[in-house]
Subunit: 213 residues, 2 copies
DNA sequence: TCAAAAGTGTTTTACCTACACCCATGA
DNA sequence: TCATGGGTGTAGGTAAAACACTTTTGA
């Protein structure tokens, strides 16, 4: 499950399958773990094969092991989610043969997916909804420099509800984990907004393990 | 990982292994998934073989897939935690042959465990520390009828810190998920405390999915 | 009557919520 | 000059935290 955020919408990466079963169906990216790699490494490798990106934030969230979830025998899936920055048009050229193509799709109005992938998707979405409230995963989806409105729009997209602008800003700035930059937005036809950075050091200092947003 | 709570202490069930590798070492209970069962079913079966109990609260929490975690080749472990009521002396007679014996051990001062089981244990403990704050898992560890002091002692054991009695009671009762019984403790040589029950229906009514304790 | 735990309120502080207008900018 | 989003403060309510004494019971 690879999440991205673009134009105010939360999106996930889907592939069109090129293998039986469920050939031509849409599915979540994923493949088998090799003999000599850990499951974390496998997840990172598969992400790399699909997007060409490394060093991306990834986290395991659940393992699916129903007997009948794969029509041709038992398959156990260890599911991960990743979050990547979708700044501009990132080219997607799958280096894999199990996928015809890969593309971004908004999490609203997802089509039916192969296998039990809709179940997996729902679990992931639920997980990040909770997680965004106490860990700084939102910043993984934004460009390095972002405006408070972008950040708020992201929260609104993930939580699927409107937030109050003044309260949101107050709260965010109060945590003291944003660094205000001496820089403003460019190329907009309205008052340019200040840019901010996520301040990892302050975050790490304040919260050894976790943070209550 | 099977948690229990007894005499104010949080405990887990350990086994002494009867198989190589790590024969005679202490370890977390667990074994292989059969061909025709889901991983959830396997976890429930293994719990049953060890304790004779069914219908216990269980939840998957992480999957461990490092290449070298098992000396004799690759083993992927899907780890679950379970919570059982330890009222009185429950007999433990392992029906399994991979364990010589099984016994309860306080989570404080755990000895070194086989494989990477100490890592697994720490992850589980971390998980329930967070989870007890927003989901009613504590009640799974207590007898059906319990006093507020017992409940508080359990929270203190899990969170590993003292809580204020008055604030704890106020908060708990305010959630409205406890049913006060017309009954009191018996056999204590001090003022007997009121007994309470966890009220599942009220909980379900108030919170479709989750609760913020 | 003693020991042990049950049970109970108030004050202070921090945070959450609701709410509306002026400002800066580029087109 | 207009359209668009940027940016700001306050008041009221709710929940959290700190804190100590009286009551009940059985031994």
């Amino acid at each position: 499950m690879i999440f991205g955020f673009d134009k105010g919408e939360l999106k996930i990466l889907l592939i069109e399958r090129n293998e039986e079963p469920y050939k031509d169906w849409l599915a979540l990216p994923g493949y088998f773990v090799e003999q000599q790699e850990s499951i974390d490494e496998a997840a990172a490798r598969i992400l790399y094969e699909l997007t060409g990106l490394r060093g991306i934030f990834m986290e395991q969230f659940h393992t699916f092991g129903e007997v009948k979830r794969h029509p041709q025998g038992r398959v156990i899936t260890v599911a991960y989610f990743a979050m990547i920055r979708l700044s501009g048009a990132k080219e997607l050229k799958p280096v894999t043969n199990y996928a015809k193509k890969a593309f971004w799709h908004p999490v609203e109005s997802l089509p039916e997916l192969a296998f039990d992938h809709s179940v997996i998707f729902n679990k992931a979405l639920q997980k990040i909804k909770r997680k965004i409230a106490y860990q700084p995963i939102a910043f993984e989806l934004l460009p390095e420099k972002f405006t408070l409105t972008q950040l708020q729009t992201l929260y609104e997209a993930v939580l699927n509800k409107k937030l109050d602008k003044r309260n949101f800003r107050k709260k965010m700035l109060n945590y003291g984990i944003l660094k205000e930059l001496d820089e403003k937005q460019k190329g907009v036809s309205y008052r340019a907004a200040k840019l901010y950075k996520f301040d990892k050091r302050k975050y790490a200092k304040l919260f050894k393990n976790e943070l209550s947003f």
